[in-house]
Symmetry: C2
Subunit: 163 residues, 2 copies
């Protein structure tokens, strides 16, 4: 019978992870949207903003996000259209392009981030005691490492390890 599996604790665990993530994601996306950005556009701006020089190659963005190369192309298209990033040639490899965050892009980040961090605290990190949060994050890190080999380490190797 199907019902034997119905309340398996493993399904419940996945359900909790999904609901927590999707619920938080929806809440945060709502605030980001007020500033004219989608979550993925915001994520890319953040990744560019914290890189020395504010630039990453398209491929690096693909490796760091859940997008494929073609997805990155089109997100960067939109960001470039809105003047939040520019594409500039990579001197050492003429196949590559750097996506560079503009002053306008940084300004947008500044506008979004303070409230964004507040909201994360309100709905996520601030909901738990410091110890409970540590436990949660430690568990998530373990799962992340199991599921995304080399996500933290050198991005260069990550692609190789996953395949």
């Amino acid at each position: 019978m199907t019902r034997d599996y119905a309340d398996d604790p493993r399904l419940t665990a996945v359900g909790l992870l999904s609901e927590a993530y999707l619920g938080l994601h929806a809440k945060l996306a709502c605030q980001i949207a007020e500033h004219g950005l989608s979550m993925i556009e915001f994520e890319i701006l953040i990744r560019l903003g914290r890189t020395p020089g504010g630039q990453l190659r398209m491929t690096d963005l693909a490796a760091q996000t859940s997008l494929t190369a073609s997805g990155v192309t089109r997100v960067v298209d939109r960001l470039e259209r809105d003047s939040l990033v520019t594409r500039t040639a990579c001197p050492s490899d003429r196949r590559s392009l750097y996506t560079v965050i503009t002053a306008s892009g940084r300004a947008r980040l500044e506008a979004v981030l303070p409230r964004h961090l507040q909201l994360i605290d309100e709905w996520f990190t601030g909901q738990l005691t410091p110890n409970a949060l540590d436990d949660l994050l430690s568990g998530l890190r373990t799962v992340r490492d199991a599921v995304r080999p080399g996500a933290e380490a050198g991005i260069k190797n990550a692609a190789a390890l996953t395949r």
Copy 2:
């Protein structure tokens, strides 16, 4: 400076949650796809399969998933096309439709679930000691409750509470 925010622990926390969820989701979707289903189709079959009578109204499915009403319409379209569910009239309210899982739908679930549960254990629940898993799930439950008012309680009231 943008870089002040770059490594804020709140961003790291959200990043871990995202990576754990998206990574696990991708792995599981891969197995489900081998059986000709998308994750959302699988989720709907599971929800139908564990309901007495194997039926839920379109609206209930929308409330229980991350889909809107129109999204449910089209997922059920595909499931119905593949004879995994049928639509039947609701006797008490002629506006409503029951989505009913078919024998073929249950068979598909039986085919997918054993290995699916194994994989969840392999990549998620089995990666942690029982205590660490409890801590993780307890934290996720707290976040889920903060972010999805009334997700667990009576579905009937859930819609009212969220708005």
